[in-house]
């Protein structure tokens, strides 16, 4: 497709200041962007959040399953996307644990296991000390095979995961001993940064058994456009980027307060630089168009 909007032969002479702005050295933009993020971090700016329907749907999906029912949390991201996704994971684990859901952790990304471990250490153990490994939660860890892992789990969990991450056989762990396939779960949540992730969970887990469980997903801003087609039918709820995390954090904390609010408040803290940087981008777009109009009115270019 031809992309008309990249044409930028803005003005040849460029005598006016505004018109010259059209060809502004992009390093000034870089500097402005850097400052707009650095300053709010240093000043710790924070703004209120208002839950969107998608975040509320995610919250409601978790609320709608019976208390104490087993849920599967798949950590399909790595540290590179942790800034966006870890706040969701923390809030989700706190939410599930507050409702006494049995939690099974797993990862489709090699480094996802570390993120799950981290969440267990920082959220589950300190704030839900009643959770016993093997009985109330199980960490299955990472297995290679991408969507193949999901496909096999859909028919036979022990075949894919003969043992949990620490090497204990599944049949020795009360929580998972009787589980045959994914239909044992009431909810599957994939916090995902790309492939394999929430999309694969929808395709290969929800596809073959659409009514067995609910699927919710957390996604980076980039990936959301790929997941949108699946919401709200194949995926009941979706958390989108830090904003989704911040909104969900508020919903969860509103109903299930936590002793140390900052543990599930990372999303909201990270929204500070967002506002300033977004306003900068809006300003840049306006500026670019003013410069174009100014350049055009001086008879510079088309």
């Amino acid at each position: 497709m031809t992309t008309h909007m990249t044409t930028q032969r803005d003005n040849a002479g460029g005598s006016s200041f505004l018109a010259r702005l059209g060809n502004l050295d992009r390093r000034w933009i870089f500097l402005a962007m850097g400052l707009s993020i650095a300053v709010p971090i240093l000043l710790k700016l924070r703004f209120p959040e208002y839950p969107s329907p998608m975040s509320r749907a995610t919250f409601d999906a978790v609320e709608s399953i019976p208390e104490g029912a087993p849920v599967l949390l798949s950590f399909d991201y790595d540290p590179a996307s942790a800034a966006e996704l870890q706040p969701m994971a923390s809030a989700l684990v706190h939410h599930c644990a507050s409702r006494h859901q049995k939690i099974v952790f797993m990862a489709l990304w090699p480094l996802g296991k570390q993120q799950a471990d981290k969440t267990i250490e920082t959220v589950l153990k300190p704030f839900h000390p009643e959770y016993k490994e093997g009985v109330d939660y199980v960490q299955l860890g990472y297995q290679s095979g991408n969507e193949g892992v999901i496909k096999l789990m859909a028919t036979n969990i022990p075949a894919q995961y003969p043992t949990d991450a620490s090497g204990a056989a599944l049949k020795d762990l009360p929580l998972v001993a009787g589980m045959r396939d994914l239909s044992s779960f009431k909810l599957i949540a994939s916090i995902s940064a790309g492939y394999p992730g929430a999309k694969e969970w929808v395709q290969y887990a929800n596809g073959p058994m659409p009514d067995a469980f609910k699927v919710v997903g957390g996604s980076t801003g980039v990936q959301v456009s790929q997941l949108l087609p699946y919401y709200p039918h194949q995926m009941e709820g979706m958390l989108v980027a830090v904003k989704g995390a911040a909104e969900y954090e508020m919903l969860v904390e509103g109903k299930y307060p936590i002793a140390q609010p900052e543990v599930i408040g990372q999303g909201r803290v990270r929204m500070g630089p967002q506002l300033v940087a977004h306003l900068l981008m809006i300003g840049l777009i306006v500026l670019g168009n003013i410069a174009m109009v100014a350049g055009r009115s001086r008879g510079g270019a088309r």
Binding site: T3, H4, M5, T6, T7, Q8, L24, R26, I29, F30, A32, M33, G34, I37, F47, P48, E49, Y50, S52, P53, M54, P79, A80, S144, G145, N146, G148, K151, L152, T155, V224, S225, Q226, L228, P229, Y231, K243, M271, Q274, L275, A277, H278, L279, L280, M281, I282, L284, I285, L287, G288, N289, M292
Partner: protein, 233 residues
């Protein structure tokens, strides 16, 4: 024959087998088996990659081409990481099998490999990733100019979403009551409307098109019509 017909036959056969296997109960796990093979194959193929990396950089160094010092840095960091990783040098012994050296954990930051990952690999990759924030800004400034209907729609939508993404949207239009007729003009409802209805429709059509494209491309390959992957030496 060996160089053209057999590869085409292999391609055709393996493609057809995978299609049929999807419908045969006992072959359901074949795709996973093949997946494991390909993981192994790509690990074996590192020999090619590493060989090429060495050849290119050694050539740069030996012929003292401009920037040869950087080639040397690449090689040194490559070999350091490779050796500490493959030999698990300084790995933390496995508590269950402390005597088996190669059972040790080499990925903790207490081992050289893990340290390199945490303090060299990870900061470099995530900062490269972070550069995108700058480029998103410069791309928006440069490309979002209202030149025609199409570009107005592109930049207008981006504009609305950007405002709605932050508390600024609520600040500007939050006073419109949720239950009034004008509630659709609230930035948050506009965002939901655009993403849930228009973007979803657009993405759906793109996805359907891609599915057809993938099917046709796969079929062209399986039928042996597209043979551009074959060399002719």
């Amino acid at each position: 024959m060996l160089q053209r017909t057999i590869p085409i036959a292999i391609l055709c056969l393996s493609g057809v087998i995978m299609i049929v296997a999807y419908f045969v109960s006992f072959a359901v796990s074949w795709s996973e088996t093949v997946n494991v093979w390909f993981n192994i194959l790509s690990a074996v193929a590192f020999v090619l990659g590493a060989g090429n990396l060495l050849a290119v950089n050694l050539e740069k160094i030996s012929s003292r081409r401009p920037g040869w010092a950087y080639a040397a840095i690449t090689l040194v960091s490559f070999f350091f990481m490779l050796v500490v990783g493959l030999l698990k040098l300084g790995a933390v012994p496995d508590p269950k099998n402390p005597l088996v050296h190669f059972a040790g954990d080499y990925e903790t930051s207490a081992s050289p490999y893990g340290w390199m990952y945490e303090y060299v690999f990870s900061p470099l990759t995530s900062t490269m990733f972070g550069l995108l924030a700058f480029y998103v800004a410069s791309a928006a400034f440069r490309a979002f100019r209202a030149k025609n209907v199409e570009s107005i729609l592109l930049l207008g939508t981006a504009f609305i979403i950007l405002i709605a993404q932050t508390a600024a949207g609520i600040f500007l239009t939050g006073w419109i009551p949720q239950d009034s007729v004008f509630a659709v003009l609230r930035f948050d409802s506009l965002k939901v409307g655009i993403t849930e209805h228009i973007q979803t429709a657009g993405m759906r059509a793109i996805t359907i098109g891609i599915a057809l494209g993938v099917a046709a491309t796969s079929l062209r390959l399986i039928l042996g019509i597209d043979k551009s992957y074959l060399s002719k030496n």
